[in-house]
Symmetry: C2
Subunit: 220 residues, 2 copies
Amino acid sequence: MALTRERIVDATVELLQRHGAGAFSLRRLGVHLGSDPTAIYRHFKDKDDLLRAVGDRIHGQILVGLPSNDSWQAIVTEICIRLRASHLAQPEMAALIRSGPPLHRNEFELTEALFAQLGRSELPPPDQAMAYHALIELTVGSAALDTEVATMDAKQRTATYDDWRAAYQRLDPAEFPHTALVGEHMYRNSADERFVVALSALLYGFSRTMPDIGDKTRAH
Amino acid sequence: MALTRERIVDATVELLQRHGAGAFSLRRLGVHLGSDPTAIYRHFKDKDDLLRAVGDRIHGQILVGLPSNDSWQAIVTEICIRLRASHLAQPEMAALIRSGPPLHRNEFELTEALFAQLGRSELPPPDQAMAYHALIELTVGSAALDTEVATMDAKQRTATYDDWRAAYQRLDPAEFPHTALVGEHMYRNSADERFVVALSALLYGFSRTMPDIGDKTRAH
DNA sequence: ACCTGAACACCGTTCAAGT
DNA sequence: ACCTGAACACCGTTCAAGT
């Protein structure tokens, strides 16, 4: 029953999952662990340090059972889908990771896995790095924008998207003519499906020579 | 000297800009306004309501003086650059907007401006909506990931990127062979430049018929 | 009509004291 | 060596009381 890093991380994951991210505090964690809240400071520097450890545990599960005999685009897509799902499942942790790369073991392995796939493309290394940054930004952004809605049940979620779409469709077509034409197509399909479409466009865009940008002097 | 919504929003913008986002509280705002912190509740429902109003004011400045005789890609890029800059300048507000579209006047005008440009592309309306969502996700994600670094001065910022790059380059090449090849190109250029590259790739990806995804039965 | 100020129910974190 | 518990310096928000 002794307090260990492991037991604290376990309890944190459980609390974050069971109640929302907003309902997590060190005081609640103390109650859940049956010990004084401040005992946690014996094992972690502060709350951020604890959440970073939670993040590393979750990043560690992303590469488990990843398909390997697929196109690089398909594998990159799968990794990003899983990374996005992790961020949706742990919004507190996600907010922390947004403030800087954790630079921990599992994050390095995730990066290596992405570069392994981007290395199979025809992109030269500088463009692989650019694509890597763009993939992370899109994935993290998609998760951040979807966090609030993702915690709802399917019925609520559909209702929310319907409400938002309706708000755009309710606009005066004289003042908002373009929104009037496109409004009905906003927030369609699931956010997961929209994400895969965006990801495909991004990968497609990077896997061609890009006009107007990039290093025009490159070898091929 | 009477308290008005306008005066409160002004003071909030000033406080957020002068000190960081983390240093903002209703109590501090009260001191700055020379009135009791709880007087704000007479004009705004709660803190989120106030930040939403701040967000709307800032969104309202994005379209001012936008070039109009340019390609749709160039104008979309300019809008996204400005939206990203707004999020970087007001991280508290940005965090709130991530939780759902504000559905306020200025946000509708921003959406209309983006659809006006996407309408000049050859994309059919459903794809315009998809592109819109993807653009927002990339823009918001890029801003979120860059917020921490953006508040630093140029020197600190470069040092931070150098540190991060070094962490990846320090990895054992036997265990992380692909990172070894690409590591030196990570976090190069400014985050703004990396964002423009990502945006171009995304727009380029959307402006072609996408393989494997999308409605294959479309007219053209 | 508008603002004040006490109060409520919380936070993360520190540190001397206990076992 | 490890944990406790009081204390510090904060939060957002409510509401009866003041002017």
